[in-house]
Structure formats: structure tokens, C-alpha cells
Symmetry: C2
Subunit: 230 residues, 2 copies
């Protein structure tokens, strides 16, 4: 059972704390504002109003005993730095801190942060790749050269068989699975939730409207394929 | 060639605009601040200082001709609403707007935004799933019940063969590929960049330190497996 401390319950911190808890972790959520603490208390293990820079208060709620802490205070470098130092004094080694610039990152690492995250830049990169990617719904970078993408089939591919499409030999890609649209397909007897994914579909399978192909391969080849086929 | 308009070059907007351009799209990047425009101009097709609420100025830089616009203005609902309306007047239909609350989302949809995004909440959710997930480096949600995860092998699995691990029959998962750590493996002749991924590895393959397993399956089963195996 993993135990987390989240300091700062802005939109990011609150969403993070709730998600960790919903995923089965134990979560101590902390904010100096009473209204934030009140708002989240049913959705985490333990919500407490206190100042992240108050080492004694943190210790009293068991902060010294967590697997990792995430500092999600807003644009206040001093508070993030001091809180990092205090958590190090309490013996924590896994301290993830939200920051906004490269210089802040260097400073936080110097005072003991194990990881520094840039929320806005990260989302800009992710959405930039998604939107530029020709109906790519989501992508995961496997290596600097290879990715997995979820690609929505264009109208002109409906009724084309996988054998004709031939992603492997013609395009150098791996078709890992097909995700069916909700309630779709007259052809298969798999309309339940868990059957929406068809792993290793065979060459005779014919593409249907709303299908999402889960493709893997080199970034260049993925782009070339989705560019050609839109 | 996809063409985008990005209005607002804060950390999110700037990162988004640069990424779109780096991915091969044409990007018109707009901000009312000259320093932002100056900073990004080498990294997009066209950077212009102007007010997103100035319809004439937008038209003069070709804003009416883009495939999609992203409004990445900070916490200023009025500016986001007015800019959305102006873009609709210019004939755009794909207008993605950054917002911060559900009410703002409803308002923006009412005035014509096609998509509304919550950067902080989205990152909180993503990182919450990643951190709670037992050395899961990244995950992609395929359906509400199935995901793909990149999972770093724990020390106690080193030298275990895939046959012994038996993810498919014992755990109900699909091992889609193995990503090797940089410069790793004495056993294989594939140390070049593109060979870092082993697709459909066979049962005789023995796990090595730093390996990342790309696993797919039901969320419950992924959690159960990674929980057991850490
Ligand atoms: N020293 C501190 N101790 C505890 N909580 C703090 C401290 N300083 C700030 N906070 C809390 O951190 C939270 C996040 O800060 P703030 O709202 O300024 O950031 P934000 O950038 O708007 O957040 P987000 O972008 O995640 O919505 C606030 O709820 C605030 O009360
Ligand atoms: N009407 C407008 N027209 C053009 N640009 C605008 C307008 N209003 C604000 N901006 C620009 O939008 C950018 C983003 O706004 P701001 O910096 O307030 O948001 P932010 O929340 O700090 O951004 P981020 O979180 O992405 O760093 C700023 O560079 C600002 O100059």
C-alpha cells in the first residue's frame, strides 16, 4: 500500500490527491486553506489544514512516514524550496515538486527535490503531438524514435480488410489491437465492455466506422502512414 | 499540412505552439506581449503581437484560414469568451479553449468552443495514475477498463524468463514489447537506437536490469500484477 503526502490543493494538487486515493493509495492531503481541506476530505484518507513549512505539524500527521511527497503549491518558489528542505529534514527522499522554469528546477534539485515537474509545458508537448498527429487520439512515447498511437480510422478506410491495409509490410508498423466504438459492429459477438478491444486481429477483419487502431512503430513511419491515410 | 492558430503564449501556449511546429504543422502564434512574440518567433511559422479580441488583426494574419485554434490565455474568462466568439465569426469551427472550472466550460461551449481543456486537472489525473501504479512509467487508457502501461521490472525479476513469468496465462495480460535500457544487454546484438524495442519476445527471453515491459490488459489485472511483482 503506497502512502503519499500532497501539499497544496490547487486544481493540480487536488486532482492528483483524489486520483492517487481512487487508485488505492493512502493519501494525506494538506493545504493552508480550510475550504480546500473541507472540499477534499471525503476523497482522500486524511485531509488537514496546515502550513507546508511547519515541520512539527507535518510530522504530527505522519508526513515523515510516506513513500513520496508532492509539493503542488502555486507560483511561490520560496514556499516550495522551504517545504522541500523541511521534508528532507523529516527523512523523505522521494520529493516531487511542481515548478515553472529551468532555474527553479535547478534550485529545487540543489535543495533536495528528487523530481521537478512542469505541468503546463508537459501538457503543451502532449497536446501538440496529439493535435498535429492526424486523428491521433493519444500517444505514448516508447523511445525517442518509437511510439504507440491510438488512431481513429478515416472514412475512406471503412470496409478495407487488414490484409489489404497491410500495415506491417507496407508501412513498417505493428497493429497491436483494434478498439471498437461504443455499441458498434454488427459482425462480432463481443459488444460487452471488456470485448471492445480485439488483440492481434487477423487479415480478414474489415475496418468499421469508429474503429481506433492501436499502432506501434517508428515515429517517422507512424506519421507517414497517418498522413497518407487521412 | 495542418495549420494552427495559438492565442496566448504562457508556458502552456508556447510549449504547444512550438511542439505543433516541430511536428510539422504550420503555426501562427499570437500574444499581446511583444517579449513573448520575440521569444517564440524562430520556433513557429509566424509569430505576431496582437490582441486575441481584435478580429480584424486576426483576419489579417490568416486566422480565418486555419484548421484549428487553441486559446491559451490565462485565467481571464472574458477574454477567452470574447476570443472564442470572434473566431466563430471568422468562420472557425475547431476552437479549443483552456479553462479552469466546469462552469467556465459550460459557458465556453455555449458561445461556440468545440473543446475545453483543463490542464491542471488532467495532469493531476495522469500523474496520479502513474505514481500510484507501481513503477509504471507512463500509461495510456485504451478503454475505461483497459490500459497500456510501461512497467519497469523490479530487481527480483532479473534473470526470470518470460516463460516462467507467464503474463498471459497466469495474469491475463498481453506482453506487447520489451524496451531495453540504454546501452544494455549483453545477450542481444541490437544495441542501436532502433533496436531498443523487442516486439513479441519469446518465452526463452530472460529479463534484464532496466527492462521496461509494455503490458496491456484490464486495469484490475495490471494493478494486481504490478502490485504482486514489486
Ligand atoms: N505554505 C503552504 N502550505 C500549504 N498550502 C499552501 C501553501 N502555500 C500555498 N498553498 C496552497 O497551495 C494551493 C495551490 O496554490 P495556488 O492556488 O496558488 O496555485 P495554482 O497555480 O492556482 O494551482 P493550480 O494551477 O493547481 O490550480 C492553494 O490551495 C494554496 O492554499
Ligand atoms: N487578449 C489577449 N490576446 C493575446 N494574448 C493574450 C491576451 N490575454 C492574455 N494574453 C497572453 O496569454 C498568455 C498567457 O496568460 P498568462 O501568462 O496570464 O497565463 P498563465 O496561466 O500564466 O499561463 P501558463 O499557465 O500557460 O504559464 C500571456 O502571455 C498573455 O500575454
Amino acid at each position: 500500500m503506497k502512502r503519499f503526502l500532497v501539499i497544496g490543493l490547487g486544481r493540480f494538487g487536488m486532482s492528483l490527491a483524489e486520483t492517487l486515493y481512487a487508485e488505492g493509495a493512502e493519501v494525506i492531503a494538506v493545504d493552508e486553506r480550510a475550504d480546500k481541506v473541507e472540499e477534499i476530505k471525503e476523497r482522500v484518507s486524511h485531509a488537514v489544514q496546515l502550513d507546508g513549512m511547519d515541520g512539527e505539524a507535518l510530522k504530527s500527521v505522519g508526513a515523515n512516514d510516506v513513500d513520496a511527497a508532492i509539493i503542488a503549491i502555486g507560483e511561490n518558489l520560496e514556499a516550495s524550496v522551504v517545504t522541500t528542505v523541511i521534508l528532507r529534514e523529516l527523512g523523505l527522499s522521494e520529493i516531487i515538486v511542481r515548478a515553472y522554469t529551468e532555474r527553479e528546477k535547478r534550485i529545487l534539485h540543489l535543495v533536495g527535490a528528487s523530481r521537478v515537474i512542469f505541468i503546463e509545458q508537459e501538457m503543451g508537448r502532449r497536446l501538440g503531438k496529439t493535435y498535429s498527429g492526424n486523428a491521433i487520439l493519444d500517444y505514448i512515447e516508447l523511445t525517442p524514435t518509437h511510439s504507440i498511437v491510438q488512431w481513429e480510422v478515416p472514412k475512406n478506410l471503412i470496409d478495407v480488410s487488414l490484409g489489404e491495409l497491410n500495415v506491417t509490410e507496407k508501412w513498417g508498423l505493428n497493429l497491436f489491437a483494434i478498439k471498437k466504438a461504443d455499441g458498434a459492429s454488427k459482425n462480432f459477438a463481443w459488444r460487452k465492455e471488456q470485448d471492445r478491444l480485439i488483440f492481434n486481429p487477423d487479415d480478414a477483419y474489415c475496418i468499421e466506422e469508429g474503429d481506433v487502431l492501436i499502432l506501434v512503430g517508428k515515429n517517422k513511419e507512424l506519421t507517414r502512414f497517418t498522413d497518407q491515410k487521412k
